[in-house]
Symmetry: C2
Subunit: 361 residues, 2 copies
């Protein structure tokens, strides 16, 4: 048994870790943190449990928000919607959920499940389906273990909802994405209902603990007036890509995604150089002025404010902001052929092959 | 009791009447006719019943195809899909349907319900929700009687489906339309599940009989080498708008609809004049060269081949085709304020007010 309890103060660290591991996307966890803290204050702390302590026949359900983070900031969830999505899925399945799951260990979706867990009294498993954030719903370890995303419920704040059943997780993404756009660019979803046995196969373990640890590290380093970049790269086997100031930012909401490209002028050791980082909700590819890769999806590209050391999301990027970009190796399963097919550069329309971070200098 | 039986030969007349009352849209009933005839050959004839013979607590369900007629012609349904949409809705409701309903008395959707009725052995009610065809799913008498379109099932030929629950029939349209587009531009749906009591309030009565009668009239007139235009305008209190030859046709598939405009050079009594007819799946507005209205939605604009006398759908319009355009008064409920709000010129983006056909010369 290695369960632990998450109270209102712990949510600060988890949200901070989630913002960092969200690789610039997944939405600012701040909103989800407030929702979780309000629910914890009302209903009590959340129990985070080890996947091995879950019964094989338990019903385990990820709940999350879907859509463009830029929209989520303007169309705040009311705190009940994620819970309602779960309830609608339970009604459809004719069975109550036993365990909640984080679909991604990053961004808003690393905090929203805590709000639902507190409100329902259900435990949350220590793990997720990505070990980071990704923009599309089929981009999870569960897809690689043949676990269907459906039946899936998608719901909005107005009272509209759908139960989707699809022939593949890519099809689920298509049918859910178009409805997310219609619903105003953001929606709440409950999906990948699975058994405890399936969860044991598919889950990327202990990433909720990791978020908490990363958040505590960032807070601790900031308290000591140190930028957390060095400690985090060392702890996560990553490295600094560059420190630079935003000189240009191109940002559009297209097809339900926040897409764009940020250009940076190098500072410190990188002075005189130019860098670009592309994103689709999340940071996807970092390159230098000659087009040479610095890091590429599925490896993590994480941004810290060069001054304060806080994580920076794509929607916070603005002209003049100084940022330290870090590369962090992705979870091992993403570096397989099946993983690269699902979330590698080719899927996002890039011509370059995946080169692991450790082979790039 | 005024039920009647529809066999394979009767489907010829119903499809012909459906093509005429489809006002150029709703899809060519030919495909649906073949599906219905195949099902009738296999399972026996369909019983069409009067709405007053239905129990108040019966479950009555319209089944139909949704999407752009241009797409339906290229992506033929396999005959099982509409039945599958019904079965999925029955599974969701936990109850079998007692009666099937035509959502519209025109186009493909006036024949598809016969295929499902034959396959299931269920009776079909004599009536529909429009008395013509319209492009969007909230455009039915049922909406005017506050009958919700949901729970609604949308399904494609690949095996994807959704159950939609929405706060209004307009919202149902939005969530279903975007999925129709994702599904390839056409999908099968079962919607507006309602009680017999609701059906008695909302149904436009005896329009299935009317389609059969119109089809028989067209066939009879053609046999006698007469164009059916005069007999039909007399029977339906309509009038000829013009006879002309297509000189230009602008056609696009946009947002899941077939939209466009056809321009005609007048013939016979109209020689020397130019006419235009706008359509969104269905013919919406007919005007002369000075922009004067000849007929406008919700009144029916129906096209007959000037030579053979057969109904012409928007996708059959081609350069050089000679067509007689008829105006037919819509069902009375469409001419109310609530009806005009739902399907009048303003809804489709026109600036002109609705002027009833009888006031236009």
């Amino acid at each position: 048994m290695s369960s632990f309890s998450v109270g209102s103060r712990d949510m600060e660290a988890i949200a901070l870790g989630g913002a960092f591991m969200g690789t610039g996307g997944g939405g600012d966890p701040y909103i989800g943190k407030l929702m979780a803290q309000a629910a914890i204050t009302e209903h009590g702390p959340v129990t985070v449990i080890d996947v091995d302590d879950i019964a094989d026949d338990a019903l385990c359900v990820p709940v999350c928000m879907m859509g463009a983070p830029t929209v989520m900031l303007e169309k705040l969830p009311n705190g009940q919607e994620a819970h309602q999505a779960l309830q609608k899925l339970e009604a459809y399945l004719g069975r109550r959920a036993d365990v909640l799951v984080c679909i991604e260990a990053g961004g808003l979706n690393s905090t929203i499940p805590f709000a639902v867990a507190a409100a329902t009294g259900l435990p949350l498993v220590d793990g997720d389906g990505m070990g980071r954030a990704f923009p599309e719903l089929q981009m999870v370890s569960f897809t690689m273990f043949d676990i269907p995303a459906t039946p899936m419920v998608i719901a909005d704040e107005k009272g509209n909802s759908s139960v989707i059943n699809a022939i593949s997780n890519r099809w689920t993404e298509r049918l859910a994405r178009c409805q997310t756009v219609e619903m105003g660019g953001a929606a709440l979803v409950a999906l990948y209902p699975m058994s405890g046995a399936q969860l044991k196969r598919g889950l990327l373990r202990r990433t909720v603990s990791l978020l908490k640890e990363i958040g505590e590290t960032i807070a601790c380093e900031r308290k000591a007036n140190r930028n957390p970049a060095d400690t985090l790269t060392s702890r996560l086997n990553g490295r600094k890509l560059f420190t630079g100031r935003v000189v240009d930012i191109d940002r559009r909401t297209v097809g339900g995604f926040a897409r764009g490209k940020a250009t940076f002028k190098g500072m410190d050791a990188s002075i005189g150089k130019t860098f670009t980082v592309d994103f689709q909700n999340e940071f996807l590819v970092a390159s230098d002025e000659n087009g040479a890769l610095l890091a590429t999806t599925p490896d993590l590209i994480c941004a810290l404010d060069a001054d304060g050391g806080l994580p920076v999301t794509t929607e916070q990027l603005r002209y003049g902001l100084a940022v330290t970009m870090l590369g962090i190796p992705c979870a091992g399963f993403w570096a397989t052929d099946a993983g690269i097919e699902l979330v590698g550069p080719g899927y996002f329309g890039y011509e370059h092959a995946y080169v692991p971070l450790r082979q790039l200098t």
